[in-house]
Structure formats: structure tokens, C-alpha cells
Amino acid sequence: MNVFLDAFAWIFSPDRTTGYLPLWEAVLQHLGFTFGSVAIAALIAIPAGWAIGHTGKGREIAVFLSGAARSLPSLGLVVLLYLVIGVNFKEQAAVVAFVLLAIPSILAGAYAGIEAINRSTVEAGRAVGMTPMQILWKIEVPLGLPLLIGGIRSAVLQVVATVTIAAYVGLGGLGFALIQGIQTRNAAQILGASIVVVILALVLDGAFALFQRIVVPRGVAVQNSSPTRRRTRRAPVPAT
């Protein structure tokens, strides 16, 4: 337990507000990288995922590509991109690696959300004369939203944990405190910085869980809670 007490003492020490990288600044950098990367990934993956889900085409290739992207080790990718594009663009190198990490979950959430919709709902839309665009925007997007948010949620979690490696190329974030702690054999600092990352992850996950509940359309919530429908519900974000 002592180690944990030391770690919390490290987090709340007044020294954390001074020095090269005050803790709050590291947290801000960390969140900046996380949200920036996930936002870029969302801009790419959501339209692509909706297109796949709506048309039903390209699913195989998306699964293949996002599976391949998932297996890329982020640290190797950051360093490789850094070596290739040079020291003055190391932020971009890191962001590209984090974007690639975030895309698969968001993409899967986007198309799985649409695929999980009961086909008869879509057919009903068509029957009342909706255009394909209306079907997409009025049926598929709102009904697919919970799974999409789930995909973004898991992307945020993965990225927030991985951003620690940005410090390997001198980009700060909470990884700075971690690496400094490892090199100076300061267990309280290592654990303290890790705890801050864990807290960030938990807070973000909680916020997304709440958000996911809020965006479920009322009709879907009623539908899902009825016992006969429960069997057809899919698990959130099927693995690609």
C-alpha cells in the first residue's frame, strides 16, 4: 500500500506544478493528442463506415484493412514515421500513428451500427417513399449511433493509453513523467503517472458510457428493453 500512498503523494505534490512539464500541462497535452487523433480518425472512418453499412459493399476489404492496421505496433510506427518524415514533423508522425490506431474501432462501430438495424425497419422506410439519403440520415444513422459511439469510445480508450509513447520522441504528455520515472528508478513517479493515465481513461470511458445512453433514440431504447427483442441485440462493436 505504501507504494500507492507514495504515488498519490507524487501526484499531489506541489512540485508537480513546476518544472519542465507541470502535471496539468502533461495532462492537457495528453488529452490534446487523444482528442485530436480520434477526431481526425472519426472524420475518415465515420463516412467510410456509413458508406459500407449503407451499401453493404466493401465490408470485406474494410475488415481486412482495419485488422491489418490494428496489428501495427504503435511505438514502432511512431519511430518509423519520425525517421522517415524528419524531426521537425514529429507531432505529425505521432498523430498519424494514433489516427491509424483509432480508425479500426470507429470504422467497425460505424458500419456495424447500420448492419445491426432490423432490415424491416429499413424496408419500412423505403415503403413510405424515403430516398436512399433519407434512409441513411433518418433511419440508419440515428439507429446506428449507439454502436458508433461505442466504437469511438473504445478508440479513445486505446489512444489515451497509447499516447504515453509520444514522450519517446520528445512530445511530452504523461509518458514524459513515466519515462523519467523509469530512468531515475522513481517508483512513486512511475505509478503516479500511470494512475493519472488510468484516471483519464476511466473518466473518458464513463463520459462516453453516459453519452452512449443519451444518444440511443427513444424508440430503440423501448424496443431493446422488450424481452422478445433482446435476443436479436448485438454485442457492442463486434471484433473485426
Binding site: V87, Y168, G170, Q180
Partner: protein, 304 residues
């Protein structure tokens, strides 16, 4: 002095070389293993020496030299290279599963005694011997060093007339780049006290040399045996007031086996110069030669 010498970029940058080196080690190992297993029936256990190394190419070359020298002396050598950071391998060294490891006096001293202060090579070695556990024995230290140093570009040195750290005292807007831990190291925090230098810190981690060359920082904290000092035409600033902890290469051996290998290994330490260590690092990172080849050549050139 950084506690470990594991650095990601050299490691990844050398991945290809490392694969070759490892496969070379692997194949030579299996050959030797095959050869020696034939006559090993009569060998007693004490003739087998387990040599370890960090996952730092320079350290691995030294370990390879130890290994080849011991093999010439009739020992069976088991190589456990690229183990990684000091926290990972010191327990194995302490419990006797590794018999011999190339270490660095200052870094090892700092590992056992965080408050260790700078000093000459002799002082650091003596202090290190005192803090070593009883079952470990330090053999003679080598003149070869691989320690932290402050480096500037040749152009910057010329522009500001720099030869030693103290010359930086009048220079404005100095940013020192280095690993994250540099911020807390005495050789950074005492800059003002010892040399009157005002310095800002920038955590450049693995990008330090690139940032220096790109002009984003003015002074880089780099290991003195880093080949990029040569290849990037950097100027290492002299440290006449002993700001840095000396870090001579020192073989650390299991106390039970130290005596039988001391002669052979001490000869290696005595013969190795700092310049040769740098040259071997250049061969490894620039010419991409395997540590086994580099070690073989060095032994042929220096120990006949």
C-alpha cells in the same frame, strides 16, 4: 548518467542489423554448442561462463569481445545478449544466473547509490566497488568510457568559440536537449553552480541529435561513444570541472568465477581505448556489421 542505455531509436534503426547480428550469434552459438557438446562430457560446470549484455549495440560488442576471448581460453560461453535495462538484468547477475556483464562505473554506482556524486574515474570505481553486493566482483576498469557528454554542432561551436562547458556561460537562450531524466540529473541542475551556465531543458528523448542538427536545441546530452558525434560532426564540450560522473567500461563478474576469468578479461579492459569504442560503434551503426565480426577484428588487432 542515464540508468539504462536502452534507447528506442538506435534499437529500431538497427533492427535489421540486430536481426543479422542475432542470427549470426544464433548460428555461431549452435555451431559452438554442437562442437562443445561433443567434448562437454568431461567439462565441469565451472568452465561454462554466461555472458550478458544490454540491448545497446555498443554494450553487446564489448560482451561479444569478452565471450570470444573466453572461448579462446577454453571456456564454454553462453551468450545472453540484449537483455535490456539495468533493472531487468541486475537481479540475474546478483543471483548468479549471469556470470559476466560489461558495465559502466558511474551508471552502476548510481544504480546502487542514487546520491552518488561526480568524480574521477578512480574515485567512481572505488565508490562503485564499495556498493557492489558481496557476490559480485568488479574486474579492472577500462580507459574506454561511454558517459554522458554535452555536444554542440561544429558551426555553433565555431560561432561562439566553444571548447568546454564553461564557455557556454555567456551564450544567451541556451536549450539543452536530452532524455526526460536529464531534468533531474545533477549534471544539468548544477550547470549554473559549477559552470555559471543558464540553461533551459527540453525533453527530446530519442530525437536529441536530430533536434540539435535541426537547430531546435543548442546543446545535446549524448553518450560520449555515440557514433553520431562523429558522423554528424558534433563537438563534445570538455568537462574540466568534473560535472559528469565518469563511466568507464567495467566488467562485473560473479565472485565465484571472477578469479579464473580475470586475467583474460583484464587484458581486454586494458587494451580498449575510448576511441576504439567509438570506432566500433561506428562500424556497428554506420557500416551495419555484426558485433561478432567487430569483436573478432578488434581481438585480432589488439590481442594478437
Amino acid at each position: 548518467m542515464s540508468i539504462t542505455r536502452t534507447r528506442i531509436i538506435p534499437v529500431i534503426g538497427l533492427a535489421a542489423a540486430a536481426v543479422f547480428a542475432l542470427s549470426a550469434c544464433g548460428s555461431s552459438d549452435s555451431l559452438q554448442g554442437g562442437g562443445s557438446s561433443g567434448n562437454q562430457g568431461g567439462d565441469d560446470q565451472s568452465k561454462t561462463i554466461v555472458v550478458g549484455s544490454q540491448s545497446y549495440p555498443s554494450n553487446e560488442i564489448i560482451a561479444e569481445i569478452y565471450s570470444q576471448v573466453l572461448e579462446k581460453d577454453g571456456f564454454t560461453v553462453e551468450r545472453k545478449f540484449a537483455i535490456g535495462q539495468r533493472d531487468a538484468y541486475m537481479p540475474s547477475l546478483e543471483d548468479g544466473s549471469i556470470d559476466l556483464f560489461p558495465e559502466y562505473t558511474g551508471s552502476l554506482l548510481q544504480y546502487y547509490d542514487k546520491s552518488a556524486t561526480a568524480g574521477s574515474s578512480d574515485e567512481v570505481y572505488d565508490a562503485m566497488v564499495k556498493v557492489l553486493p558481496d557476490n559480485l566482483k568488479a574486474l579492472d576498469y577500462s580507459p574506454a568510457t561511454d558517459q554522458d557528454s554535452y555536444n554542440v554542432t561544429a558551426a555553433f561551436a565555431k560561432e561562439n568559440n566553444l571548447t568546454e562547458i564553461g564557455d557556454l556561460a555567456g551564450v544567451k537562450d541556451l536549450t539543452f536537449g536530452g532524455a526526460p531524466e536529464l531534468e533531474q540529473r545533477p549534471y544539468f541542475t548544477d550547470l549554473k553552480k559549477v559552470y555559471g551556465v543558464d540553461a533551459k531543458f527540453e525533453a527530446t528523448a530519442d530525437t536529441t541529435v536530430d533536434e540539435l542538427v535541426a537547430g531546435n536545441i543548442q546543446v545535446a546530452n549524448v553518450y560520449s561513444a555515440d557514433p553520431r558525434i562523429e558522423t554528424e560532426d558534433l563537438v563534445t564540450l570538455k568537462d574540466p570541472k568534473g560535472l559528469f560522473l565518469a563511466a568507464n567500461v567495467v566488467p562485473i563478474a560473479n565472485a565465484d568465477k571472477a578469479d579464473e576469468i580475470a586475467d583474460a578479461i583484464n587484458k581486454v579492459s586494458a587494451a580498449m581505448s575510448p576511441e576504439e569504442l567509438v570506432a566500433m560503434n561506428v562500424e556497428s551503426t554506420v557500416d551495419q556489421r555484426s558485433s561478432a565480426d567487430i569483436a573478432k577484428k578488434w581481438i585480432a588487432d589488439n590481442l594478437g
